[in-house]
């Protein structure tokens, strides 16, 4: 909660609503005692079971079924839309949409900055902002130093085949 609050402060979101996330299993799945494949199986969860999401760790999600709590593979879940909205629409978007579909048509939103399809198409270039952004770019060496500080180790991993 503290995190969420800090985010709201940092990015100026006016309000945030926390709600539990729910998901359905997309296939029959084993509920494991620990987040790894050869951990003890607590129960079998049938496909399309509704579970509550408790936390995530790498490729595993801790969930609560009707009868137990344990770990399932993260990608065996399809999260329910809308149930866990961490912030609602600020209201501004809706306001602009209303304006842009009003009688005066699309011209209303011209000049209002934003990343809607229309605003992107009508954007005026801002080369100064690009120059400003470039001042934050870092060298390969600096990136490497920061990675090492985080104990990140580069390794060789092959690209996935894409089913081909």
């Amino acid at each position: 909660m503290r995190r969420l609050f800090a985010f709201c402060v940092l990015f100026g979101f006016a309000s945030a609503v926390w709600a539990a996330d729910f998901a359905r299993t997309i296939r029959a799945t084993e509920l494991k005692a620990q987040p790894y494949s050869d951990a003890k199986t607590l129960e079998s969860v049938p496909a399309r079971s509704r579970v509550e999401i408790l936390k995530r760790q790498s490729g595993w999600t801790r969930v609560k079924t009707a009868t137990a709590s344990g770990w399932v593979k993260m990608l065996s879940l399809r999260v329910e839309a809308g149930t866990g909205a961490r912030r609602g629409d600020s209201g501004l978007g809706a306001l602009f949409n209303v304006a842009s579909t009003g009688k005066s048509g699309s011209t209303v939103t011209t000049g209002v900055r934003g990343l809607s399809e229309e605003q992107l198409t009508n954007a005026q270039p801002d080369p100064k902002a690009l120059q400003a952004a470039k001042r934050y770019a870092v060298s390969k060496q600096e990136a490497q130093r920061y990675a090492a500080e985080g104990k990140l180790q580069a390794k060789s991993v092959d690209y996935l085949s894409g089913g081909r």
């Binding site: 952004a133 770019a137 390969k140």
Partner: protein
């Protein structure tokens, strides 16, 4: 040029009906065909300097649509993560630039030449550095595979495109022709890439993040978080319009991320560093 066209025509005729009894003497057909191909390629290829000029023009447009977040620490942090990941890609030496846009929309963009932007709206949905890495790596993959360049080429007359890019370089960006090219390019961002390009960027993104030493499940975790949001939220509109359905993207990652990633699950997600860097304190 005319000669080449004639040779090309002759090649074509020759290939189609070998029985036609023209005597072309000592013409080397293979070489002629290669020349034709080479000339056509030169007219349609955009080289790296051209790609960078084009990308900067598009980046400048994106920044015209949404300003840069005024927070040096956050900008620097995202550049450090992004540059490290780009170093694990096949194009480590582009002038990579990463930026956070001050916009509540949930989205991320990359331009040709290595400019990558993410909105604060998307950043605010994340829970770790590995999740940020996953999203940046997806964008880096678009640049590595030149998805936008190819989409722009598809939409424009190739010949015209290269002429414009050349003019633009000669005139150092002050050219109205560049504006045309860039605006054609920017439209790709409103329209979206081919969905197979997005799937490919997902597949490559999880690998690039893993190469950087991160928990590779950061990208699918972000996609799942977005799945949990209210889909009618207007901040998701453009992202949803320009990308395949989250469920489809996750399903494909599910099929692909099996055995190969089992050994990478213990790679760090650096959640604490993420929240500290964003000024949110310890989790």
């Amino acid at each position: 040029m005319r000669t080449i066209r004639m040779i090309a025509m002759a090649c074509l005729l020759g290939a189609m009906s070998p029985a036609i009894a023209f005597d072309f003497g000592s013409i080397d057909w293979k070489k002629a065909a290669e020349t034709v191909q080479k000339v056509q390629k030169a007219r349609t290829d955009i080289d790296e300097p051209q790609e960078i000029v084009l990308g900067d023009g598009i980046a400048s447009n994106l920044l015209g649509a949404a300003p840069l977040l005024d927070n040096a620490a956050v900008q620097r942090y995202v550049n450090r993560i992004g540059r490290w990941l780009a170093s694990q890609s096949e194009r480590p030496d582009l002038p990579w630039l990463f930026g956070v846009l001050d916009d509540s929309d949930v989205n991320a963009f990359s331009t040709p030449g290595g400019n990558v932007f993410i909105t604060k709206g998307l950043l605010a949905q994340m829970n770790s550095e590995a999740e940020l890495a996953g999203v940046l790596a997806h964008e880096i993959a678009h640049v590595v595979r030149k998805h936008h360049v190819l989409a722009i080429k598809k939409g424009a007359q190739a010949e015209l495109l290269t002429d414009l890019a050349n003019d633009a370089i000669r005139q150092k960006g002050g050219d109205p022709k560049l504006a045309k090219l860039v605006s054609a390019g920017t439209e790709v961002y409103a329209r979206g890439l081919d969905k197979n390009d997005e799937y490919e960027a997902d597949r490559m993104g999880v690998v690039i993040a893993a190469r950087g030493g991160y928990d590779p499940y950061g990208l699918p975790a972000v996609l799942q978080t977005l799945q949990s949001l209210n889909p009618s939220d207007s901040s998701l509109a453009l992202m949803f319009k320009t990308h395949p359905a989250l469920g489809d993207r996750l399903e494909l990652l599910d099929e692909e991320m099996s055995d190969q990633f089992a050994g990478l699950e213990n790679q760090p997600d650096l959640a604490d560093r993420f929240f500290q860097a964003l000024g949110a304190g310890k989790k």
